[in-house]
Symmetry: C2
Subunit: 157 residues, 2 copies
């Protein structure tokens, strides 16, 4: 099963490597991962989606919670959280195809962030399903390069 | 100095933990990190911003490039790439303050993604500076929770 875990940590040397090592040591595969600083630069939030067994997950969460640099661990089940990812990509876009591609972007509220004679750079946010739908439509034009964040999760209301 | 590194890897068990361990073992602090799958699920792209010495960086890149599961390593200097991050946050928003907050969101093209009687969930994308400017304006209202991806980078035109 796929789980989203949010971990608030002190921004100290090696914390991330320790946590990543712990997940893989326990047989969890990390599907996506984000690490970004909080307003107060002393802390960072790690958001990971991992694939593994539910019982094993409880064990890992308890273990992570014991780390001295970990302040808080939250696991989200499906639907409990607002989930968002960001993808940026460069798509082949000769002049003859450009307006067609821009139409697709428009429908998905994707933003054009850079334009060159033969390509467009596009950014899009959404949950995993929405991003998949967008990529399926864009792929036939030729994706030259792509980078994608992992899932972020925020408790609802 | 701050460097952005983009690493294309095979989506194999433990690759991320190995790379993260390597950076921290060499004395680099990982400031932000993203791992997301490519279209072909066999590959993932890791984007990391790390802080450390330029010469040491060359060494680390060579080392990472030797890993069997690594297909490609690119280091970006400032201005070579289009950079984007995503932040999602929940801000205190009692009815009396809501329109004021929505105005700030509007200026920064931030999207409201969830609304409750006392709070708003907001998403915003931009480079690090733009996100900082937005957070500085939103912080006084009270940020209840926040998650942030690391930096993504895409070569220009």
């Amino acid at each position: 099963m796929r789980h989203t875990i949010s971990i608030l940590v002190e921004n100290k040397f090696g914390v991330l490597a320790r946590i990543a090592g712990m997940f893989s040591g326990r047989g969890f595969n990390i599907d996506t991962l984000n690490v970004g600083p909080m307003l107060d630069g002393r802390f960072s939030r790690i958001t990971a989606t991992i694939i593994g067994d539910e019982d094993a997950l409880d064990q890992v969460i308890k273990q992570v919670d014991k780390f001295i640099n970990v302040l808080e661990v939250t696991a989200f089940s499906r639907g409990q959280a607002t989930e968002r990812e960001l993808v940026i990509l460069k798509v082949n876009a000769p002049a003859a195809k450009r307006s067609e591609i821009m139409q697709v972007c428009d429908i998905f509220r994707a933003k054009i962030i850079d334009v060159a004679s033969e390509s467009l750079n596009v950014e899009m946010t959404g949950n995993a399903n929405k991003i998949k739908a967008f990529l399926d439509l864009i792929e036939p034009y030729g994706i030259v390069e792509m980078a994608r964040t992992g899932n972020l999760a925020l408790k609802r209301g």
